[in-house]
Symmetry: C2
Subunit: 174 residues, 2 copies
């Protein structure tokens, strides 16, 4: 009935609780987690390791504030390309490789790529757009200026829909 999950991680509520916690703050001590979830420190550690081995947790990273680097200008650039046949991968990687580029999405529809970039000044934005246009195969670009960002939590577990949550806890057939 439910074959939405390719990689069935087979998680339980305890795993979700751990993930929800460490996804927003990995600086919580094992002891705190152990107390909150009524488990031993070793058990928490065991589960965390399993989550890393399963690649549910891809890695532990420090989140650097872009504003601390004066990266105050955010732009969303729609990029259309000329020959879409097969070249999309190369162009996507070229876009992602540009300095200042944060995220690149290849989309269906009129626009082929959506590029989100972050720079300090209008000059840098100008140069970045020039470099985008200079990529072979790029046809047209259209940029929007971002006034405000509303969420960068990037919290996968916290933003699950109830259906998505259920699907994880009750894997299909295995």
């Amino acid at each position: 009935m439910n074959d939405a999950l390719r990689t069935a991680p087979n998680l339980d509520e305890t795993d979700l609780a751990i993930l929800e916690r460490v996804e927003t703050d990995f600086d919580v001590s094992l002891e705190t987690l152990a107390e909150e979830l009524d488990l031993s420190k070793s058990a928490i550690h065991y589960r965390l390791n399993k989550l890393k081995d399963n690649d549910v947790i891809e890695g532990i990273t420090a989140d650097v504030d872009p504003l601390a680097f004066g990266l105050e200008m955010v732009a969303i650039t729609d990029v259309s390309v000329t020959h879409e046949q097969g070249y999309s991968e190369d162009i996507g990687e070229a876009l992602a490789g540009l300095e200042g580029v944060d995220q690149v999405y290849y989309t269906l529809g009129d626009i082929d790529f959506v590029v989100i970039s972050r720079v300090q000044t209008r000059e840098q934005l100008n140069e970045l757009i020039d470099r985008i246009v200079a990529i072979g195969g790029v046809n047209e670009t259209s940029s929007k200026f971002v006034m405000r960002e509303f969420e960068n939590e990037r919290s996968v577990t916290a933003n699950l829909t109830p259906a998505a949550r259920e699907a994880v806890l009750e894997p299909s057939t295995d």
Copy 2:
């Protein structure tokens, strides 16, 4: 000459080297960092703490793979609103609060909000778009389906333009 930086963190090359490392992988041991940078373990630790106190490092987080949760469908939704006067903040927060929504950008131009969301199934996507339309003030939506994502490194220090890098190392006047 260079007033691009509001928050001057006063960093040096060593700080940048540490940041570049821990931003992609915080699991490196202090010893490894100490050897690489020819410093004592305590010095690395001291600098890391300072970077946290200065909010250059906003936090340490575990990166959870959305695919492990079957979140295979990514959509970019352009949202236009009716009355833009003052309500943008409320609408932005309402959008960001929806389950499945990952990022929300308020932009200048024809489109007012760009919403990036991540769900498991077409049904969930459908429901999400319905919930977006149901938000008071939302006028029109247009969604694009994402076929491929090219960069989610979210590495601030690694993606700095040379100019941006220089601006950090040589703060303006202070």
